[in-house]
Symmetry: C2
Subunit: 318 residues, 2 copies
């Protein structure tokens, strides 16, 4: 592997599509080589501006991503896109929605697009995403867009993986209550009301403004702007990019940029630790007589689950 790995990493560092794709597959499948890959790519990362893009199905995430890519290309940037599908814990294949709109960029060598399922990774989304981002970062992308469908926990997780979080909404989707429910009001650095040519768009902007004003944020200095877009015509996308840039500049000035990256690194380490412990537990489920016997006792009501957990933990950590 060593010579092949040298060539692969050289390919990544010069931004070759094939090498990047192969390395991202190593991430996706949690390859045993990943540890060595990540060790060697560590010094090559930390340059890209990572922009997370999330929202409910149907708000126009792929169209917006595609338009953002076009704008960034016009500005001469090299762009990575990582589309994450956190939904399927079973069955092979990512089953991602239409990436058709991205095909316009598919022959551009300065655009690296990847759909990724994270089931195979022992650390899950939380460990696989930063690793994939590191690969695209090392491949000299100036901006990497992480697109994820907003369901449940995943959209909150994505905010922990990026520098700037963009939350998309659209009129007629009952987004206000959903947003409050899913906690997206705490995570957006920039809000987009897409399909703003449709009835009700102004009401969404108004609701959003009220809710944002009522929401306490960790980085108190930044007031998240709301951008109205019609992504399929590209209207408003230049302004969106401007706001994303302002978020970076404000964060660099206040120090929030660095502390967020620090936090991200901490979360990634924790995800890997939890992944390792989970693997020990899962292996234990099949192999260790200990857990089988503990589970039997709990099932029979002889033992409570806390006491059982204490005993298992003792086994694992000694």
């Amino acid at each position: 592997m060593s010579v092949a790995l040298d060539a692969l990493l050289a390919g990544v560092r010069t931004g070759q599509r094939r090498a990047v794709a192969r390395t991202l597959s190593l991430v996706e499948n949690d390859s045993p080589h990943l540890r060595e890959v990540m060790r060697r790519l560590a010094p090559d990362s930390g340059y890209a501006h990572v922009v997370g893009l999330t929202g409910a199905p149907g708000v126009g995430k792929s169209t917006t991503t595609s338009e953002l890519v076009a704008e960034l290309r016009t500005a001469g940037q090299r762009v990575g896109v990582l589309a994450i599908d956190p939904s399927s814990p079973f069955s092979g294949g990512a089953l991602l929605g239409d990436r058709i709109r991205m095909q316009v960029h598919s022959t551009d060598n300065d655009v690296l697009i990847r759909s990724m399922a994270t089931r195979g990774h022992l650390g899950g989304l939380s460990a696989a995403t930063p690793q994939a981002l590191r690969v695209l970062d090392a491949a000299r992308c100036d901006t990497v867009i992480v697109e994820t469908v907003g369901v449940g926990q995943s959209e909150v997780d994505i905010a922990d993986a990026c520098d700037t979080t963009v939350v998309l909404m659209a009129p007629g989707m009952g987004d206000s209550v959903q947003a409050a429910k899913a906690g997206v009001l705490e995570i957006g650095d920039v809000y987009v009301v897409n399909k703003s040519d449709r009835p009700g768009a102004q009401a969404v902007v108004r609701d959003l403004r009220t809710m944002i004003a009522l929401t306490e944020r960790a980085d108190g200095a930044w007031k998240p702007p709301i951008v109205s877009t019609v992504s399929h015509t590209g209207s408003g996308v230049a302004e969106l990019l401007l706001r994303i840039g302002e978020h970076r500049a404000a964060g660099e000035a206040s120090g929030a940029w660095g502390s967020r990256r620090q936090r991200r690194a901490g979360l990634e380490i924790q995800a890997l630790v939890l992944g390792t412990l989970r693997r020990r537990l899962i292996v234990g489920q099949h192999d260790a007589d200990g857990l089988v016997e503990l589970a039997r006792s709990v099932r029979e009501g002889e033992l409570d689950s806390y006491t059982a957990a204490d005993r298992l933990l003792e086994e694992l950590t000694n």
Copy 2:
């Protein structure tokens, strides 16, 4: 607490609503008393038939639950209902959808209904759910229905928490692809096509039958039936209950019932262990200089995240 706890547990064991509600709040908030409560309730559980009910928003879960409760009450059973909202990681309050349909049962002392958010529990949904079920079980419920909205991972998790999993679908919701994506084809023991008086219901049944036939199941002996219902009229709900009963009988005959409960107990223990480890990590995030320094090194590209994780794990387990 000891005398008060005695009274509380006596109240649970005699099925008093107030005592059950208070104990479920202890579960929800991961009270420090929970350990003692669970230790003492351990011998009182294992009796109730736990039926999980899941499906996308809008398929008619609450109406179906309410009709199932009515049928079970007619059969003289004592019934528990646990509605789980896994979506909100932030902001207080469960924000659950309309439980209006359940209000018909609200004056019936033999129906115990509870909405539960699981954010507060260190072990999350996976640890809180079995504990809540144990409380309702100890409160002499014959059947407990766990209702959860089908988003992402949560519907798969729910299958790990119950004896019989019922998956609801409805025509016109693009459920076929969603089902494949979310992995629900692997988990349903009984499928319901609700709103079966609407156009397209037959097609959903047909698609579902094909997909079930193509899906490999862990318990090969059981062939999941499909029941057509119109839950707001109650049509088909008696048949649904019949199929749920057949699933139990078949599982008891084949041994699948016991091995599933064994597996459940094992998963609960693991969730508690992971919760404990996660808490150590989170505490570590604030307190330990170790992680802060490791995160800084990863952020600066001096260290890769795997090596950092190894070092943190060593700290945690020694």
